[in-house]
């Protein structure tokens, strides 16, 4: 079994890159791999709690929480979050906040890295 580090910089609603990332993380965890998940830039939107579940909009809060109980480590870029007005008290419980070096440290011993840099 390997370790996959996913970095995603895309917004919660729109490109569906976060939907993709979360589904990939889920499939990898199902197969027994370890998954670290880093969100930076607009990707930090994923870490906000209290996303209202409308069927017209991507809603990932519930899935991410479930994956965290199955071992997913999810971390948001703290500065990217704060610049957008996302504070610790708005963050999903268990979703970590660190500076960018956390991502690189996760990559250090990752077997595979999927970095999704754009919108």
């Amino acid at each position: 079994m390997g370790k996959l580090t996913i970095g995603c910089f895309s917004s919660l609603v729109g490109s569906m890159n976060l939907d993709f990332s979360v589904k990939l993380a889920s499939a990898a965890i199902e197969k027994g791999h370890k998954v670290d998940f880093w969100v930076s830039g607009n990707g930090t939107m994923l870490s906000i709690k209290g996303q209202k579940a409308f069927k017209d909009y991507t809603h990932l809060e519930k899935t991410v929480k479930e994956l965290m109980t199955k071992g997913l480590t999810a971390t948001a870029c703290e500065a990217c979050a704060e610049a957008r007005g996302y504070h610790k008290e708005n963050t999903i419980e268990g979703f970590k906040r660190h500076s960018m070096d956390w991502y690189l440290a996760s990559i250090f011993d990752a077997d595979r890295v999927l970095h999704i840099g754009g919108e």
Partner: protein
């Protein structure tokens, strides 16, 4: 004692998306990653600007004056101050008719000893071969 090498490739112009700037800030984070690692372990970051990404390197960006925002130019200078390798694709500069005079080449005013390396794409490709992981922006 292990080293993981990363290649950061910037292929898009500045200011349209945050990602060229995030490439630079994430690459810079390689300098502080040791706090998470065992003694002697490290992560290195090489940066390359290719395609429209070379537009990030044009000098005299006045983002602070016009939008109150750090320019991508000044982020490139920060990267040089931290001794990271910064490559710029020569063929892409040529395509735009840009010379080394038109782009950020050093950060001497801040005491940086490292300079930008203008290289053919083949060298950037070699870097991509040599690193452990690639991060495209």
């Amino acid at each position: 004692m292990a080293t993981t090498k990363l290649g950061f490739i910037v292929q898009r112009p500045p200011y349209k998306s945050e990602n060229p700037k995030l490439a630079l800030t994430h690459a810079i984070a390689s300098q502080s990653v040791e706090i998470y690692l065992n003694d002697g372990d490290m992560v290195t970051a090489d940066l390359a600007f290719i395609g429209d990404g070379v537009l990030n390197c044009i000098k005299n960006q006045k983002a602070m004056e016009n939008y109150g925002l750090t320019s991508t130019e000044s982020h490139i200078k920060s990267t040089l101050m931290l001794d990271l390798s910064v490559f710029v694709c020569r063929e892409d500069l040529d395509k735009f008719g840009l010379s080394e005079d038109d782009i950020v080449m050093d950060a001497e005013e801040f005491g940086a000893e490292v300079k930008v390396k203008v290289v053919p794409f083949s060298e950037i490709n070699k870097m991509m071969e040599e690193v452990n992981h690639l991060l495209f922006f």
